[in-house]
């Protein structure tokens, strides 16, 4: 139809749709290259797995206006300093267990998952683990038998016993420690971490 205005024509919108989509896709791919580089383990934002040999803090940064993870001095997990391969192997065991046991259909990690149980982003730093010297023992006990060691803080919602082996539980703890060192742009905000030497 010759009377159709150009901005109402099928042809115009077809071309627009194609170009807009192509442009946005190219921008996304470009940003993805950059982001993938910045979230590879061992980068500034996502630390190497050997970070489990270190103490991890979550401290206010006035310049950024948010809390951020700060990597402190040596504090090996379970008192055992691991090299890069061993650290990765332990953390990887944790990740495989977290997936195989379906933890994210009850919990959120980095805020994604299910809402039936606490967010685990900073679980390593949670004040409920009392104090640094007993934290690892308490975590291990809890994961191996969450029903007997239930807290609930007045609620009777419990984590079921998922029959973790001790190796799996140690892997999970390593995982939680490593994850707490990821720079999440201040999420969760206002989190009050467990007291550690140097605070």
């Amino acid at each position: 139809m010759s009377t159709t205005l150009w901005w109402a024509s099928e042809e115009f919108w077809r071309k627009t749709a194609v170009w807009v989509t192509a442009f946005m896709a190219v921008v996304l791919i470009f940003l993805t290259f950059d982001s993938v580089k910045k979230i590879t383990a061992g980068s500034q934002r996502v630390p190497a797995y050997t970070v489990i040999n270190q103490r991890i803090y979550y401290r206010w940064n006035a310049e950024r206006g948010m809390q951020e993870p700060v990597i402190g001095d040596e504090a090996p997990l379970f008192g055992q300093k691991l090299d890069a391969d061993a650290a990765w192997a332990l953390v990887d065991k944790g990740k495989l267990t977290i997936q195989a046991r379906n933890c994210m259909n009850c919990h959120t990690l980095l805020g994604n998952g299910a809402y039936y149980a606490p967010d685990l982003t900073k679980a390593w730093l949670d004040p409920a683990w009392a104090a640094e010297p007993v934290r690892e023992t308490l975590m291990l006990q809890f994961l191996l038998d969450p029903e007997t060691n239930a807290r609930g803080f007045g609620s009777n919602r419990k984590m079921p016993n998922l029959h973790l082996t001790e190796d799996e539980a140690r892997g999970i703890i390593a995982y939680l420690k490593w994850m707490s060192a990821i720079d999440t742009n201040g999420f969760p905000r206002n989190f009050k971490p467990i007291a550690q030497p140097g605070d």
């Binding site: 979230i39 195989a100 980095l110 805020g111 994604n112 606490p118 999420f187």
Partner: protein, 482 residues
């Protein structure tokens, strides 16, 4: 052809495949609702099935049943319309039937393993055989590969049929969109130790499905549906479809960034994600305008009242569930506190139901009408059509009620756990026990039961609507002049 009697000779070959998918979809929809009620109840009675059917297992079935029934509904819808759009019959009919059975049996096996094996040791073999532990795409890797093969065969069938027949604007968009939809699934098929990397790609599947490719797919179905139900003009509908694609992909692709605020990704996503996702409601407004305007021009007369009603429910549900409820928490300044709370559940329910359950139900009604020999489904159905009207009312009331209840719980959780308590373990439980949060969980369950009654009524109606009715379908010209 005798109106009122179910007879497969009323259907074209592709449509015979389609109704198989629709039946399977309805079974899974019912399963979704049953498991939804179980996990809703576990919030109120935490000891229910503890250790035998844990929340995690039941929830996985709830959301997986949803993903699969909706995909089945979409696949069925495409088989339904492909021959009419292409003007030839389906190229590989036996192939289409074969894929249906392979797909359905695979889904059944996956569900049986979910329910009876539930979880495995922390090894790769568990992810290959039992479940991958990644929300929505928990299906084990063997099933992923199976799904990809099925999708490829399906895609071949559809593309080849259009190639043999003729192309249209709608079918062109549809086929390109299917390529993107299937390709994105690949992004969810690998394992990474690194949780940031894991979630980066996981969101490619989830977000770029529901906020880009699925939206465009239902845009195509809607465009075709408007031509079918009210006789809208093809040229106008196609132009609108292009506009919607431009707006939806223009905002939704980079809108992906609203999931990259807090997962370790760089700070520029706060700006990019916040800005583009805030624009995502624009195409959804356009869709409402389009649907209502077109239906209005045709004075809401149609040969299939239930289908038209559900198409209108789709337009509004999409706008409110995705557009309004999504916008409410999409800016990083707000999402910092609402992230991962019952807000997300509130939005997730209204959006999936409003955008995708509705349009599938509309197509089910179009299908049953034709299957029964183009039976009358306009005004003055037997019993005044009480079943479809009540199920429409109960499903929508149930969903809106659940959404509102979840929103109140979500507010409470955001304030008490996130803002005040700083999201610790104890703050989490403090929020879960506030009176308003608990009331929200209670009312969600009440409205869940209402929704469930609506579901049963819907299935009953689809099984019986038009039975014993002898009048043929109202012709659009007739209604127009009536």
């Amino acid at each position: 052809m005798q109106p009122g009697v179910i007879d497969s000779r009323n259907l074209s070959p592709g449509q015979r495949v389609a109704v198989k998918y629709f039946i399977a979809a309805l079974v899974l929809f019912l399963a979704q609702v049953v498991f939804g009620l179980i996990i809703g109840l576990q919030y109120l009675m935490p000891d229910l099935f503890l250790g035998s059917l844990d929340f995690s297992t039941a929830r996985m079935v709830h959301i997986n049943a949803m993903i699969v029934w909706m995909l089945f509904g979409f696949i069925g819808s495409i088989y339904w319309l492909v021959e009419e759009e292409a003007g030839v019959s389906l190229v590989g009919q036996w192939l289409a039937n074969l894929i249906f059975w392979v797909f359905s049996i695979a889904v059944s096996v996956v569900v049986v393993v979910y329910l009876f094996v539930q979880y495995g040791p922390g090894e790769h073999s568990s992810l290959w055989l039992i479940n991958e532990g990644r929300e929505y795409i928990e299906a084990p890797r063997w099933a992923d590969i199976g799904i990809v093969v099925c999708m490829l065969a399906f895609f071949y069938n559809i593309a080849a049929t259009f190639m043999k027949g003729k192309w249209s604007g709608i079918s062109g968009v549809l086929v390109l969109d299917l390529v993107a939809l299937a390709g994105l699934y690949l992004a969810g098929m690998f394992y990474s130790t690194n949780i940031s990397m894991d979630q980066y790609w996981w969101w490619w599947v989830i977000h770029l499905w529901v906020e880009a490719t699925w939206e465009v797919l239902v845009g195509c179905i809607m465009a075709w549906g408007l031509i079918k139900t009210i006789g809208a003009k093809r040229k106008i509908v196609t132009t609108w479809l292009y506009i919607e694609v431009a707006l939806m992909f223009g905002s939704g692709i980079l809108g992906l960034g609203h999931h990259y605020f807090w997962i370790g990704t760089p700070e520029y996503w706060l700006t990019v994600g916040g800005f583009f996702s805030a624009l995502e409601p624009v195409p959804l407004v356009a869709m409402v305008v389009h649907a209502i305007y077109d239906a209005g021009v045709h004075r809401f007369k149609s040969g299939n009242h239930p289908a038209l009603a559900w198409l209108i429910a789709h337009a509004f549900g999409n706008f409110f569930g995705a557009g309004v409820w999504g916008f409410m928490h999409t800016l990083p300044q707000i999402n910092l506190y609402t992230h991962g709370t019952q807000w997300s559940a509130s939005h997730g329910h209204l959006a999936f139901f409003g955008a995708y359950a509705t349009i599938n139900i509309a197509v089910f009604y179009l299908a049953i009408q034709k299957w029964r020999g183009n039976v009358w489904m306009s005004a003055g159905m037997p019993g005044n059509g009480w079943k479809w009207k009540w199920s429409l009312a109960l499903l929508n009331l149930g969903m809106i009620g659940m959404t509102m209840a979840l929103l109140i719980s979500g507010y409470e959780q955001s304030f008490v756990e996130r803002a005040l308590g700083g999201s610790t373990w104890s703050a989490y439980f403090q929020a879960q026990q506030t009176a308003w949060f608990v009331q929200g969980m209670f009312w969600r369950q009440v409205f869940g039961y209402i929704f469930a009654i609506g579901t049963v009524l819907l299935i009953w109606d689809l099984l019986t609507v038009g039975r014993g009715e002898h009048r043929p379908q109202a012709q659009l010209e007739e209604v127009m002049t009536a």
